[in-house]
């Protein structure tokens, strides 16, 4: 065995025994280390790839619902005496008619049993306040509709929409066992049956109670034995209360025959459905149950041979759609009146406080106007600066400062450009707040370094022989550059510009500083109108508490990413198509 640390033999030559076990093991170890190292590298790349995939999948999963909306198709009675009493079809009269009443009358006609005020308000809340506007638009477009009865898709509210998108509660339906006798008293209903038709449901309720008992028991076990600071009396009281509750729950869960009243704040709701009626069970015994008639039947109920029990897994007080809401909606769905459609509204309307009416049109136009300003300002400036630095700048201190400056500017945090915009453009020059003009100027300064650097690289890539040939046949320096070098560098410059524009399109922070975060319903018409841009719209929506806006946010993100992919794809294509190797 030989080791490098051993003293060399007399001959002055060191011998190595590569065949020894130790050397073999060492080689093996080194190869293993090599494989491990390589694996780490691969894992790092794969991790980045996996993140991109998870991110995109998550956004698409969250955002897809935003592209669809649910409507209820109602037969509207467009009574001429309501819309146009004078019969002269004057625009102002048509515009100010009470379309809401028409929609609401037709909507309420579906559920004549709803008479109580609070209940009626709940029912009306299921239709979007934008439905009347849709009707107004339709009539203004085609006044011939007045006096007819038309089937018109009425937009549902966000809660109703979310229910159909499966975001309110999980509903499971099982057929009921055996026939039921029904006793209806107003809207109170008593269901009795021979045998034990409700035994299975009751057992389900009892197992829920048993689970609840376990949960409270666990809470009891987590209570500390004593508390520092002498608040033991309260602790003892709490413990006694929980112990009592556990005992109570266990007793109820254990007694299979006793009737149970449903606590809608903690237990799943159970709805009996038959003959178009929905009855919410309030008290369940093995042989009979009491309930409330949420939706009236199509005929007088006395005996039910076949019925279903639907269970709404989430307790009523934990969701926005109540049992009645869901029953109404499900009834309409069973009647075939609900339609799902592509939400063109998402692309054609501006921002709104009502999630179902909010769209990205304003943001899209705002982004387009802003990018237009950015492009107009930044392309000539960027190319001019690049041509100067690459071709005309003398080698002196000033040029050095320019170069260092541009490199540093590329790394200044974007929010600092927002501060510049606020202090300079808004406060000093007095340009309008929230306007695409200012946004475009700020973004132009932000992406200017990117475009300068890309343009310089493109200019540098054009071989000097082109310029020299032009100079050789008598062109002036500027003629050589503007007639020969610049056109050849154009594909590279365009690629850099598109990438810079993509960067500008995704930029948010500096635009927040110059007030593009205002809630603006109107769609901007000019670069001095207040407006917002797509990324800022995303930020604004992501901050809102309504669940429906979460889908809208993700939907808007999908649109933004779509534009970015198209732009970057165009840049890559341009590069592939026009790139020349000299």
């Amino acid at each position: 065995m030989t080791d490098t640390s051993m003293a060399p033999p007399e001959t002055g030559l060191r011998t190595f025994d590569y065949g020894s076990d130790e050397a073999q093991a060492r080689v093996k170890r080194r190869y293993k280390a090599e494989a491990r190292f390589r694996l780490y590298g691969l894992l790092a790349v794969l991790f980045a790839g996996a993140f991109v995939f998870v991110l995109l999948a998550d956004i698409v999963r969250k955002g897809m619902p935003a592209f669809f909306e649910h409507r209820v198709v109602l037969t509207l009675d467009l009574d001429a005496s309501l819309i146009d009493p004078t019969g002269r079809r004057e625009i102002d009269v048509l515009r100010n008619a009470d379309y809401n009443k028409i929609v609401m009358d037709a909507w309420r006609a579906n559920f004549p049993e709803v008479t109580q005020r609070a209940e009626r308000r709940r029912l009306e809340a299921l239709v979007s306040s934008g439905a009347a506007d849709d009707l107004r638009t339709a009539i203004l477009r085609d006044p011939a509709l007045i006096g007819q009865k038309v089937r018109f898709p009425v937009l549902l509210s966000d809660d109703a929409d979310l229910h159909f998108k499966g975001l309110s509660t999980r509903i499971s339906s099982v057929p009921g066992a055996g026939a039921l006798d029904v006793k209806v008293n107003g809207r109170q209903v008593e269901l009795t049956g021979s045998g034990q038709p409700f035994a299975a449901i009751l057992a389900d309720v009892k197992s829920g109670l048993a689970q609840e008992a376990e949960r409270v028991g666990a809470e009891l076990a987590r209570l500390p034995a004593s508390q520092q600071g002498g608040n033991n009396a309260a602790l003892d009281a709490k413990r006694a209360e929980l112990t009592q509750r556990v005992a109570d729950l266990r007793r109820r869960a254990g007694d299979a025959a006793s009737a149970e009243a449903i606590d809608f704040s903690a237990m799943p709701s159970r709805i009996v459905r038959a003959e178009g009626a929905s009855i919410r069970l309030q008290e369940i015994g093995p042989g009979s149950a009491k309930g409330f008639l949420l939706v009236a039947p199509q005929r007088e109920l006395s005996r039910l041979d076949s019925w279903m029990v639907a269970t709404f897994a989430t307790p009523e007080s934990n969701r926005k759609a109540s049992d009645a809401d869901i029953s109404w909606l499900e009834t309409l769905k069973a009647r075939g009146l609900i339609e799902k459609a592509f939400a063109t509204r998402f692309f054609t309307s501006g921002d709104s406080r009502e999630p179902e009416q909010a769209g990205i049109r304003g943001a899209l136009i705002g982004s387009a106007l802003t990018l237009l300003v950015t492009l107009i300002v930044c392309l000539p400036l960027g190319v001019g600066a690049a041509v100067y630095l690459e071709e005309f700048a003398p080698k002196n201190r000033f040029t050095d400062i320019l170069e260092v400056n541009i490199n540093n500017l590329a790394a200044v945090p974007s929010i600092v450009f927002g501060l510049l915009g606020l202090a300079m453009f808004l406060n000093f020059f007095g340009l309008p707040r929230s306007a695409p003009l200012v946004g475009g100027l700020v973004l132009a300064l932000l992406v200017l370094p990117t475009i300068i650097i890309a343009s310089r690289a493109a200019l540098k890539a054009v071989p000097p022989s082109i310029k020299e040939a032009a100079l050789g046949v008598g062109a002036s320096h500027q003629q050589a550059i503007f007639h020969h070098v610049l056109p050849l560098a154009m594909p590279g410059i365009m690629t850099g510009t598109i990438i810079g524009m993509a960067h500008a399109l995704g930029e948010t922070a500096p635009l927040l500083m110059i007030g593009m975060v205002a809630f603006i319903v109107d769609i901007p018409q000019a670069i001095t109108d207040p407006g917002t841009v797509l990324p800022v719209q995303i930020y604004l929506w992501s901050d809102l508490p309504e669940v429906a806006f979460q889908a809208k946010t993700a939907g808007a993100i999908m649109v933004l990413l779509g534009f970015l992919f198209v732009m970057n794809g165009a840049a890559i294509l341009l590069r592939r198509r026009f790139e020349r190797r000299w």
């Binding site: 790092a44 001019g384 974007s414 975060v517 970015l564």
Partner: protein
């Protein structure tokens, strides 16, 4: 009015161009011109356009100032010296003058608005007239100066050259603009709050009370909690991005087959191109709840807006940044160094860790510094996923806040101008700008020096 001015300017320039070119061409029939007729035309157009733009800019600025002064004087002479009410009063006048003001305007306001309307019309026409006169004069001058010896091309090329230089100077002007806009407000901030309190104070609550006798009416502006929060999140980010980015760069530069590169490079580019607002959405709605759930399952108290969530996502954001910069410096290491190492019998990984990385170290260090500067200045991820509470905490599971979050929070929405709170945002911006600038300058200097070594 601006539209009309520029339309006239373009018309005049086109007219001058075609007229002068035609004259020069006619002259060229008899004799040889020094410059081609085209250049005579271009020079004429430039001589019309440049002075007219200059007149419009200078004229508008001067006129706006004059109109404001006269309108305010007509409304109430006392306003001229009252800095606080001046801006609001002038805005009122302007609103009223364009018919958007309240109907029950006072006599004084009406007088001011009338003066405003009268004078702005007057000055607008004056600027237009002056511009037009100068434009026509310049066009005539160009027409007069046509001759066979006239060096129109040289003159025009000189104009172009200065224009190009002006384009390049915009970058410098931007930097100066940034420095001045933050520096100026920062000085005003330091007149209200001492720099010592700002730099070393450990309590941040910029809310200034409306009444002087309220508790905490002064607000406190110690930036230490923000600094700690920023550094905490940036540290988490760099702990994520450093190893992943570096290993990815090593793999891409040293191991990956061209086919793998063709796949992996675009994916990293996609990651680099994802807007931060999207990453912020992901951090706030997906990563933060996930961390919270895991933390709760492990029995840890996790804030819903923990620094960890923001830091992790920010780390992933800068992975492509670190990897592409490191990739560049690793590929810039001369092949001869690697060959020497292989010749000694080293494996690839040994070559990388013992030869390539030490040789590329300055570049990698600067890549990391640029990445840190990027993380410190990043706004949207922290705005959406990190909190507002200025906790002085090093625990990544707590909610912390950063410079950028505070700047955004203070400056978005209605601001009372000149309050210490608003100015504090600019002071924070100044610190942020200074900090990132220092990192960038050092990093770029390292890169420059290092590049020279192997060139």
């Amino acid at each position: 009015m601006t539209g009309l001015y520029y339309a006239l300017m373009v018309a005049l320039a086109l007219g001058a161009y075609f007229l002068v070119r035609a004259r020069a061409a006619a002259l060229a029939n008899g004799q040889t011109l020094h410059s081609r007729p085209n250049y005579h035309g271009l020079l004429a157009a430039a001589q019309v356009i440049l002075p007219m733009i200059l007149i419009h800019f200078a004229g508008s600025v001067l006129a706006a100032r004059f109109v404001e002064q006269q309108a305010l004087a007509a409304m109430d002479p006392a306003l001229l010296t009252d800095e606080l009410r001046r801006g609001a009063a002038f805005r009122e006048i302007r609103e009223f003058a364009i018919g958007r003001g309240a109907a029950n305007a006072t006599q004084a306001l009406q007088a001011g608005a009338a003066m405003y309307a009268y004078l702005s019309a007057l000055t607008n026409w004056a600027v237009l007239g002056l511009g037009l006169a100068v434009g026509i004069a310049m066009a005539l001058f160009s027409l007069r100066s046509i001759s066979s010896e006239f060096r129109a091309r040289n003159r025009f090329e000189r104009v172009v050259r200065y224009l190009l230089m002006a384009c390049a100077t915009v970058a410098v002007i931007t930097t100066i603009g940034i420095v001045f806009s933050v520096l100026f407000e920062t000085f005003r901030f330091f007149q209200k709050v001492s720099p010592i309190d700002f730099l070393f104070g450990t309590h941040w609550s910029p809310q200034t009370a409306i009444r002087a006798d309220q508790v905490g009416s002064s607000g406190s502006f110690g930036m230490v909690p923000l600094l700690v929060g920023t550094l905490l999140i940036s540290t988490i980010a760099i702990l994520v991005a450093g190893p992943i980015g570096l290993f990815a760069a090593i793999y891409m530069a040293e191991y990956a087959s061209p086919k793998f590169r063709a796949w992996a490079k675009p994916i990293l580019e996609i990651l680099a191109g994802i807007p931060t607002v999207v990453l912020g959405f992901f951090a706030a709605l997906t990563v933060a709840p996930m961390i919270r759930e895991v933390g709760t399952a492990l029995g840890l108290g996790v804030a819903s807006e923990s620094a960890l969530a923001a830091g992790l996502v920010m780390g992933i954001m800068i992975v492509p940044f670190v990897s592409s910069l490191s990739d560049d410096v690793i590929t810039a290491v001369p092949q001869s160094l690697r060959d020497g190492s292989y010749g000694m019998g080293a494996t690839r990984s040994e070559t990388i860790t013992k030869v390539v990385l030490p040789a590329a170290l300055p570049g990698i260090v600067s890549a990391f510094m640029l990445a840190i500067s990027r993380a410190v200045g990043e706004t949207m991820i922290v705005v959406m996923a990190a909190g507002l509470a200025a906790n002085l905490s090093f625990n990544p599971l707590d909610a912390v806040t950063t410079f950028t979050v505070q700047i955004k929070t203070i400056l978005v929405g209605d601001q009372e101008f000149d309050s210490a709170k608003t100015l504090a945002a600019f002071a924070l911006g100044f610190v942020l700008f200074f900090f990132t600038l220092t990192l960038n300058v050092i990093a770029l200097a390292i890169v420059r020096k290092y590049r020279e070594q192997y060139d």
